[in-house]
Amino acid sequence: MRRRDSTETTPMTEPNPEPQASPQVGAPRQGPAISVGGGRAPHPLKGSRESGNVELRDLHAYYGPNHAVRGVSLAFDSGAVTAIIGPSGCGKSTMVRCINRMHEEIPAARVEGEVLLDGIDLYDPRIDIVAVRRSVGMVFQKPNPFPTMSVFDNVTSGLRLTGASRGELEDRGREALLGAGLWDEVKDRLKAPGVGLSGGQQQRLCIARALAVDPEVLLMDEPCSALDPMATLRIEELIGGLKERVTIVIVTHNMQQAARVADATAFMLNGELVEVGPTDKLFTNPDDDRTEQYVTGKFG
């Protein structure tokens, strides 16, 4: 087991989180998203969805002395939506933020254990952290489009760092907006500011921005908690369609949302994984008493 302190990296807080493709880092994308020691694996075929399997092995996460995630081992299967539920402070967001190495951005935070993406340890010292963020996209609680950028520039912000041509930007930007179910609504206002869209549209814009760099995994940390019911349903529908091309891990406080969108659901309590299983099993006949108590609303 490794022990890693990462106070040297830039501190970052929730209100303006880093997008999956950081504009500050200029690493052009060539070939595979993730590789070790310079070796280039062939780029995984999109649509085949044999890639994008995530596995956590005995994952621990700390905020200074606070042990937030306590030895979680869990697999996220490609082509599936996995929901993480649990009361506030149970470590679910922290666990998810370990998957794209966001957790280590917080001062005094550290991670132990392994996070494997298709068998490659994302915490391997030879791994380029920019490549991790590109392979594992993230969408946050509050929509966070870049405030000074247009709709189109928002979507293509990650791509532009890769040195893509104008034509390629347009094609992939359009594809990403289509993928996020936003194209029809914004095709006539691509040059308008991204923050001028409605909350639900902004959130789909952020999903499009994450999709544009062709990630293997999409982490969603309460993506609908700031949205109204209709916008929430649109995102939920979108999630159902996206799982064909990207592994989705969604943290949610809304248990009915987990029940609606997730193939598998994991229940966490006090930093530990209590139970994980098919969503219908967890919501009709959970194995663990604590899961039962939580999902039936007897505590939480």
Partner: protein
Amino acid sequence: MAETRSHYQEELERLEASALEGLDMVNSALERTLEAIEHQDVELAQIVVADDDRIDGRYLEVHQSLITLLATQSPVATDLRLISALLHVLKNVERMGDQCVNICKVIPLTGNEPPADEEMVGLILTMGRHVRSIDNQAKRSFQDRDIELARDLVRQDDVVDNLNRECFRLALEIGDDADKREWAMTMLLAARAIERIGDNAVDIGEQVAFVVTGLFREFEDASHPNAFSR
């Protein structure tokens, strides 16, 4: 951790008690029905028929409240299984009440003559008393979430089934007198109805197993009786 949703939990408990009370109502209807059979009491039979509205009313009231809980509380896990089971139980109880009505409606057809066959009447009364005890056992097994007690309902119901077959044999042997045969046919309908009440109680037992285990399985498969093993 703080207890939450106490109002919802209380409401669910209240509805369970209310649904299971339906079994007490069925048992009191069955008691009157047996008395009406024994004494060929047509007035008492009419009271049972009229009183079935109370069982139906209970069904509608609890059913509506359960649907409201489903709509407003999004019950899951054991709560969801309990609500699903209670919806079944309500239907069973309502049918058990209807079987009492079926019997009471045929009692006037038996006429004012003394019973053609005392032995057959005795068998039917024994069946009825046994079914009342089965109903009580079904209620207790549900309240206590006692799967073994619920499974035992099958054994108890076998006794009733055997008594029912015995009634059938007596009816076959009742002789050539047309009035006697008509009386026997009518009593067979009553026996059959009582036997069905027992079957409904066994169905309630199956719901007990579902609430506890999350698996629904018929205790006894009527289509493949020999495939059953306990």
